[in-house]
């Protein structure tokens, strides 16, 4: 291609043109990007589900000696467009403390969210991921545990003498305070 001389143009007129070209160009790019970003940020506007207490097991299913047992939590669950009335939403450890009293822990490790095991041999909860260990009452057993807090205890209610109802909840991992998610 041959190139020909481009005549100089008045600077002021050029500035206006350049500014409007940049402005309009930015505007056209902004609209589709923003429309996408709003949708992308939608999860931030969603409230987490507040669950009522759910029936987990009967008192007679728990050993008298206070050894914990693991139970699934079956509850209603919303997953985006699906509403499921009864599905497993998590698990809890239940243990008897006294005749009519039960303690419940969420099985999720407060450190990074792994599923905590109960090891009968050492009578401790043990996290298989980063070796946090928790005593029977949920407190941190080994000071070297990376978990910032003990296992998350959940409110328990005994109804009709024998039914164990637990208000199931998950908490934010990795922080000292118990913050529901």
């Amino acid at each position: 291609m041959e190139t020909r001389d481009v005549p100089p143009q008045p600077a002021r007129r050029n500035f206006l043109k350049k500014a409007s070209a940049v402005f309009i160009g930015a505007l056209t790019a902004l609209v589709p990007t923003l429309s996408g970003l709003i949708v992308f940020l939608d999860p931030l506007r969603r409230k987490s589900q507040d669950s009522d207490a759910v029936l987990i097991a009967s008192l007679s299913a728990l050993p008298e000696d206070g050894v914990p047992r693991k139970f699934s939590v079956i509850a209603g669950h919303n997953d985006a467009w699906n509403h499921m009335p009864r599905v497993p939403v998590g698990a809890v450890y239940l243990r008897r403390i006294g005749d009519k009293s039960v303690q419940a822990f969420n099985v999720i490790c407060p450190h990074a969210g792994c599923f905590v095991d109960y090891l009968p041999a050492i009578k401790n909860y043990h996290c298989p991921c980063h070796n946090s260990s928790f005593a029977l009452d949920g407190s941190i057993a080994d000071p070297k545990s990376p978990s910032p807090r003990g296992l998350d205890e959940l409110p328990v209610e005994i109804r009709n003498e024998n039914e164990i109802w637990v208000k199931f909840q998950n908490f934010r991992a990795g922080v000292r305070e118990r913050i529901p998610v």
Partner: protein, 611 residues
């Protein structure tokens, strides 16, 4: 700042890149006619951007595709806008592509040395059409499903490789999960990658050969920056404004449609969808195909379009001859005219076709209904939203009634679907069956032998009709009051949703009515059985009359001893003869009883139905 930029420039050379991009020489100066290429690049960028964000919320499987698109469209903040922009930019892009192509041909911009770039452009055109076609299926709604079925079936008639090709594209012998994963991979992966590769070459070759100036001596030369950039930016803004207008049109003109792109009912291979049409920019092909009688579709669908594409492809070669260029221009103008004519023809035919109008109306009703059901507290089950409509009495009841019952019965004088029938009815009208009003009509001496009730059946001169016409006609005022109690009591047996409040309010009256039905004074129990076994009963059991259970059993076998027995008049045993299964009978029963999910329970019954 300057030092930082210098540092960056030494390592990346960005200043030269920007200079190269901005200081392209335009012989004859900036002009509006050069904006089309840029608007197309803009459209593609918009599609990439919005598509990427849609991708983050889309789930390609036959149980989640419609559901996730529904969720984007109706539940996520701004989802309708995002989806609308993506949808309408595709439409606008197809128009711009044709404009761009026409300009290239008319200006002879395909001539040497630009032949290869012309072919790249044609490749891009085909890729964009491919993107439109694959994208149309992804919402997995009735509209996309049936339109795309046509497209893939056409693929199947390609000689030799057709069937195999079709199977590969849809991921099996039938439409399903793999159809969606494959279409999605094509739509969001393969085709965009090809578009980017071709587009880079297209723009590179364009820069190499320079712009095809219309009249280079019109004005002094200018650089691309800033005048042409400004023109291009304004043109892109106009494109964006058009797209936003199309997205917001239902809101601006109160058309009652969804904002943004339409979402029909979920794909259902067992449901007819007579409103099936391809997206408007493929309508000309759809119309063209109608000209080819059975067995010759291959000409209309494949051979002729391929031949036309081939000629367009050869335009740079044809254009070398003196008359070649004129031929090219003439051909493209006539092709464009043909496409416009066929599109116009397809649209006018649809506009004048009452059957198509009904189909569109029904499609919209089902789309609205499934969205209402999806928003109900029960939400969308994991089996997918398609089950919502399949199990919905309001959707299925009228269809089943029209097909199985409307041969004799009527529903509000029509066939259940709202269509008038030529034949006069030969059995009762079942709208409001078992309601107080319906029963009052049945027990009215003036009406019992009208075609609305027994008039066209053999019960016209039966015992019941005689009783009503003789005895009831001569009822004293006190007996009339008692008859009203009987009507309320009998109607309460049905436990109709629409009468729930009335039944509760009139509990005392209903209790009296029940005693009257069972007693001898009003003579019901002479023929009917009511809450206690009666072996001599010769007329239908009134225990639970009109309840779901009663109605289902009645439809299943009206000739059962509990109902008409041997006196049954023509009504088939839909259950006993396996014409309908329990599920279908339940849907008809629920629909006749007005028992379906209603998002606004305070509306009176008359306003709940779709008609």
């Amino acid at each position: 700042m300057n030092r930082l930029l210098n540092w960056l420039d030494r390592r990346t050379g960005f200043r030269r890149i920007i200079e190269y991009a901005l200081y392209e020489n335009i012989p004859g100066g900036a002009r509006w006619r050069y904006v089309w290429g840029s608007t197309l690049v803009f459209c593609l960028s918009v599609q990439f951007m919005t598509g990427l964000f849609l991708w983050m919320s889309y789930s390609p499987s036959s149980q989640t595709a419609w559901e996730s698109v529904y969720y984007i469209q109706n539940e996520m903040t701004g989802g309708w806008l995002l989806r609308g922009i993506h949808h309408f930019t595709a439409s606008v892009m197809n128009v711009l592509l044709v404009l761009h192509l026409m300009q290239v041909v008319i200006d002879g911009a395909y001539k040497a040395p630009r032949e290869i770039n012309f072919w790249f452009g044609l490749g891009l055109l085909l890729l964009v059409l491919g993107l439109s076609l694959t994208g149309y299926l992804l919402p997995w709604d009735q509209k996309g499903y049936w339109a795309t079925k046509v497209a893939t079936n056409i693929m199947g008639i390609v000689p030799l490789v057709g069937p195999a090709l079709q199977r590969l594209v849809i991921g099996g012998p039938d439409y399903g999960h793999y159809t969606l994963t494959r279409f999605f991979a094509l739509h969001a992966g393969v085709l965009p990658a090809c578009v980017i590769a071709l587009l880079v070459w297209h723009i590179f070759l364009f820069r190499r050969h320079g712009i095809t100036a219309k009249d280079p001596n019109r004005k002094p030369d200018e650089y691309f920056w800033p005048d042409q950039v400004l023109n291009d930016a304004v043109a892109c803004l106009a494109v964006l404004a058009t797209v936003l207008f199309l997205v917001l049109r239902p809101w601006m003109f109160h058309t009652g449609e969804d904002l943004g792109a339409e979402l029909a009912a979920p794909a259902d291979p067992s449901e007819t969808y007579s409103a099936a049409r391809p997206e408007w920019y493929f309508l000309f092909l759809f119309e063209f195909l109608k000209f080819f009688p059975g067995g010759t579709e291959i000409w209309g669908a494949i051979i002729i379009p391929t031949f036309v594409m081939l000629i367009i492809f050869l335009m740079p070669i044809i254009g070398r001859w003196r008359l070649g260029h004129r031929f090219n221009v003439g051909l493209s103008l006539s092709l464009l005219a043909g496409v416009i004519f066929l599109t116009f023809l397809a649209m006018t035919k649809d506009k004048r076709d009452p059957a198509y109008k009904i189909a569109v109306e029904e499609a919209r009703r089902e789309a609205d209904r499934v969205k209402a059901l999806a928003r109900s507290p029960l939400g969308i089950p994991r089996e997918g939203a398609v089950t919502l409509l399949r199990n919905d009495p309001l959707t299925q009841g009228p269809k089943l009634f029209a097909k199985n019952c409307a041969g004799c019965h009527r529903y509000d004088g029509r066939d259940g679907m709202g269509n008038s029938l030529k034949e006069s009815p030969s059995a009762s009208d079942l709208k409001g069956f078992a309601s107080r009003a319906w029963l009052a009509g049945l027990l009215d001496p003036q009406r019992i032998d009208s075609p609305h009730y027994f008039g066209a059946t053999k019960f016209k001169d039966g015992k019941m009709a005689k009783f009503v016409k003789k005895d009831v006609a001569g009822f004293s005022d006190e007996q009339k009051t008692q008859l009203n109690k009987i009507i309320a009591a009998l109607s309460a047996e049905a436990e109709l949703k629409s009468q729930r409040d009335a039944d509760r309010r009139d509990a005392a009256l209903i209790a009296e009515g029940k005693t009257l039905i069972a007693g001898d004074s009003m003579r019901c129990s002479e023929c009917h059985q009511f809450h206690k076994p009666d072996e001599d009963a010769s007329a239908p059991d009134l225990t639970g009359f009109g309840s779901r259970d009663w109605l289902m059993n009645f439809i299943a076998n009206p000739a059962h001893a509990r109902f008409y027995g041997k006196r049954n008049d023509r009504m088939p045993a839909f259950g006993a003869d396996k014409v309908l299964d329990d599920h279908a009978i339940g849907l008809v029963a629920d629909w006749l009883r007005g028992d379906w999910y209603d998002p606004s329970p305070e509306l009176p019954l008359a306003k709940q139905g779709p008609f």
